[in-house]
Symmetry: C2
Subunit: 357 residues, 2 copies
């Protein structure tokens, strides 16, 4: 397993280093990657020999950190204290840490592997929150990657497990597999045709969770959706994954039908919207995150429909990461005023897209 | 005086012929032509030997038409009946005829000279409505051109003139010089800084008329304004013209100050707006007249500020004429559905601007 050093990657000095590295999931090479941006598996694990983090003192949490660091020393683990506050923001924007984890620094840490396709948080809600994230609709692949790590860690660390309930976690909803499988979907035609509301309601009624682009909020932005399994006791990992896979395959079919209909009934309107979005991204001098996300959705649709031929999905994915404030600051220097972010964002997007990305 | 044959130019058959001819005023070569699109002089004249058109029967109007055609046979005059209904729309869009003139066909006619820089209507409200229109702020030049024609016509036709009141016209407000001088102005910075309302009020209070882009309505579109003299008894042509000239010079100064301030206080916002406008015009697949007029205003400002270097004012002027429905129909064939106009307009604008106009 190739292990990169996140501390090296995230130094605030250069910029170049971090800039050159994009997460593997953003390659756009997975199947259906124009509609399914990424597949993600998360496993929650706790050490049998220690109290759960939520019940622990700082000292106990630091003991867990030391224990884990020693037992799995073949993996570089970094304390949050190794990073600056600015670097915490970078990690957050890359979804490598959670807001929850950043609330405390002492005893909290992070591990990042293989181009960010595997990472874990130490002493968040649970002792270990491992995640695997890959391009396209590849839930089984993501699970396979993470499962190997889980086995290794299990042997070294000894996880809290009940034969009756399964893996034990801080939050009762995670007890069992401790797993959550999720995908990030792009469903512009279903949003445009107003079918999405009913679909979301149906998905919720059969036990799935649907969230907007910023997974914390239910607000729909840029026609992006996080779809994930509800954690459930008594179901196997494979069943949860195949259930989600089936649902996603169905959504892809719905989305493609809606696209065909859209092209049939409003071809010019769709083309107009796509070309305008592309040219605004290529020429704007000021750009907010929200506007970028929305315009990039139209461009992504344009790529999917074969209307825009010179844009790569990987470029659009890369932009989704690097238009965020901390990433812009890393690339172009921290701006003096908040308003400068919009200028730098526009500059960055313009450069990347005019390069013929 | 070079005389072109408007009937040849306006046949509905070819398209190419009409397409290739743009009015001389659109050249953008006159002074201040980025702010002052055109200067226009209009003279209202009536024949002493005949009743005014509004008091005449169709037969009498046709007699006037015959009389004028015979007396000034060195100029080709065309009856409206020579043109198709579609060609009437073309003439209207070029401001060579008025809606008023088109209400009746019999005995009504039009003469067009020198790349449309001089034209006249026969038997509109007055027997003769002559106009001269030139690029930029060139009121004296426009007047000089028209004055020569006026003298020639006067000798041949004998105009109704009272030593006390001056030239006699159908509408009492035109009595005197029968003249109206006007300019088409582009004042985006004054609109943006909200100073325009006060300026318009002031201009009205000292006897000027301010209208929007479509001179019939007071609605402001694309930051374009028609500014004209009130017809006034007892004032000389030269005084009216120099009065308007002075006011326009002042408006140019105000506009330029407002532009400097805008660049100082909101440079990025202005640049952003200009580049977005340009790129939308270069890429849209659907475009209404209103949207074109508004976006072209931002582009025109960009040219004026030196931000857009590859766009010619003449191209923007040409587009203002050719994006109109009849002109589009002439160029690209009459569309079957109304919605097609927006598509053809977008196509035409795209082609012209991407050519590097």
């Amino acid at each position: 397993m190739k292990v990169e050093n996140p501390a090296e990657r995230c130094t605030s000095s250069g910029g170049e280093d971090f800039f050159n590295i994009t997460p593997l999931w953003s390659s756009g090479e997975g199947i259906y990657s124009e509609i399914v941006l990424s597949s993600r598996i998360r496993l929650a694990r706790n050490l049998a020999a220690f109290k759960f983090p939520i019940l622990s003192s700082v000292k106990e949490i630091e003991e867990v950190f030391a224990f884990i660091s020693e037992r799995i020393s073949f993996v570089p683990i970094f304390s949050l204290a190794h990073f600056s506050a600015f670097e915490h923001k970078l990690l957050l924007e890359r979804h490598l840490v959670s807001n929850e984890l950043l609330k405390e620094i002492a005893g909290r840490g992070v591990g990042i592997f293989s181009g960010e396709s595997i990472s874990f948080m130490l002493n968040e809600e649970d002792h270990l929150r491992m995640q695997s994230i890959v391009s396209g609709l590849e839930l089984a692949l993501a699970y396979k990657k993470l499962n190997e790590l889980d086995d290794t860690f299990s042997t070294s660390l000894g996880f809290a497990f009940s034969p009756k309930f399964g893996y034990l976690t801080s939050c009762p909803t995670n007890v069992g597999t401790g797993m959550r499988a999720s995908v990030l979907l792009h469903l512009p035609a279903l949003v445009h045709s107003s079918k999405i509301r009913k679909i979301v309601d149906n998905l919720a009624s059969i036990g799935f969770i649907v969230r907007g682009f910023h997974s914390e909020s239910a607000h729909i932005e840029g026609n992006f959706f996080h779809l994930s399994t509800q954690p459930t006791i008594g179901r196997k990992e494979e069943d949860l994954i195949s259930g989600l896979h089936k649902i996603v395959m169905q959504l892809i079919e719905y989305e493609n039908s809606a696209r065909e209909l859209l092209l049939k009934n409003a071809h010019l309107q769709v083309e107009d919207k796509i070309w305008r979005a592309m040219s605004i991204l290529k020429s704007a001098r000021l750009l907010s995150v929200d506007e970028f996300v929305n315009l990039s959705s139209a461009v992504r649709l344009g790529v999917g429909l074969g209307i825009l031929k010179d844009v790569k999905i990987s470029t659009l994915n890369q932009l989704l990461i690097f238009v965020q404030p901390a990433h812009l600051g890393k690339l172009l220097g921290e701006p003096k005023e908040l308003a400068e972010y919009d200028m730098r964002r526009a500059m960055y997007v313009r450069e990347l897209l005019n390069k013929g990305g």
